[in-house]
Symmetry: none
Subunit: 233 residues, 2 copies
DNA sequence: CGGCGCCTTGACGCCGTCTTGACGCTCCGG
DNA sequence: CCGGAGCGTCAAGACGGCGTCAAGGCGCCG
């Protein structure tokens, strides 16, 4: 839900500039990635999917604009341009290609950081509105982690806090077997990691609410001597 | 359905600048509104709900910043600042208050237009994801964040400032669970984020005004040990 | 200066939830 | 055939969150 430290990708050929941008960004609590040309920048953008890109348009291969276009093919992550070129035409072109902001060198670090904050704030709003809540669904069971809602055959099911936490933990790894210890650690904390009985009791309660026949579970499957698994098909 | 021509509100005291901004914007196909001070600007923003605001920070009453803050109380519409003052501190303050962009005079019209396009493009993405309606409605309850009004079965309900702020926070994320901490942060500020009792008391007061049966709430739902949720269906 | 409304703070009782323990079942190996 | 281990069920009790009420303080407006 909350991303504790957003990731910022810097695409910049001048090492000097990278060397003073990185600490400034890290000082704000961001994780920082670096690339020194367009190709590797695009690669890192797609492999790491950062939360924001700071892009120097004065790249040696000369077509940072191409990076904007390429990223925009599949993502709407914020892109802030920094460039030595301050011509109107350059700015207009970059912005119209999909860049979110444009600063001309030399620029103030404080201003850049403020614009980074503004851009991240906006994109967080988008994520919010999108409500792209990862809903897990098997059979007639749906689990919405973000909205904290569980429905069975389109009927809402009321779960106790602990029941939901337990079910959510299973839903985060659909189809995978979670050991007793893993569940205890995640739901109760490490102190209780030696009491599998806790899991059994609450699993029974969950089954009573979710399963038609508790003796032959459809969703909450027991993996004897190992743990439990949420059916994913 | 979609208004083909977005509305732009210009808040600017210098008539000369308005006189050259208006035709430029209209030339791009936008509808244009004008205000010449903060007060009327805020009024037009709430009555016409434009798609974007261009705000001159050098207003005579000197606190255009206040306009940003006031608008951000209830809307996330894009705000682009134009200002004669180019100090870092000014930019940082405006951006952190919620402004989307900041240009210093003199600026190029082409650049301004490009930044307007970029801002509108982004907010279109937001509206895409969420429904852009500023009024929230469930059952016989309606909440108008912009007008600051709440009605129940078409009857206006009078709420205290704090009650409204609390309800508004819930209405901004209908159906989602807001944790005690989230509500405390948003309504009381981070300093009180460890006093869930505050939320309970005021939630009880809200229920007394909004719910037919406070023991079985229709709108303000409790999520035990987690927080509260505003019903969205 | 007085009154009123609003927010805070504290106390209290209720009710749901979690834990704990006991018991019977099944499966499997000795 | 017997015995143990793992699992599911049930009930009882303790715990703590939640809602409610009332008192107190503060600011605002008349």
């Amino acid at each position: 839900m909350t991303d504790p430290s957003p990731t910022v990708l810097i695409v910049e050929d001048e090492r000097a500039i990278r060397r003073f941008l990185r600490p400034a960004l890290e000082g704000e609590g961001y994780r920082v990635l670096e690339a020194d040309d367009q190709r590797s920048g695009l690669g890192m953008a797609s492999s790491h999917t950062p939360d924001l890109i700071i892009l120097d348009l004065g790249l040696p291969d000369r077509d940072g604009l191409e990076l904007i276009r390429a990223v925009r093919e599949w993502s709407s992550m914020p892109i802030i341009i920094v460039s030595a070129r301050g011509q109107d035409a350059d700015k207009v072109k970059a912005l119209d290609l999909g860049a979110d902001d444009y600063l001309t060198k030399p620029f103030s670090v404080q201003e850049l950081l403020a614009r980074v904050r503004a851009a991240l704030r906006r994109s967080a709003a988008v994520r919010d509105a999108a409500d792209g809540s990862p809903v897990f669904a098997v059979g007639s069971l749906t689990i919405d982690l973000a909205k904290r809602r569980v429905t069975l055959a389109a009927e809402p099911v009321t779960l106790t806090p602990l029941e939901f936490k337990l079910l959510a933990e299973l839903a985060k790894h659909p189809g995978r077997v979670l050991t007793h210890k893993a569940l205890l650690d995640a739901v109760w904390g490490p102190s209780r990691s030696k009491e599998p009985h806790l899991v059994r009791v609450h699993m029974a309660n969950l089954r009573r609410k979710l399963e038609a026949d508790t003796t032959r579970p459809r969703y909450l499957l027991t993996e004897p001597t190992v743990g439990y698994r949420l059916a994913d098909a």
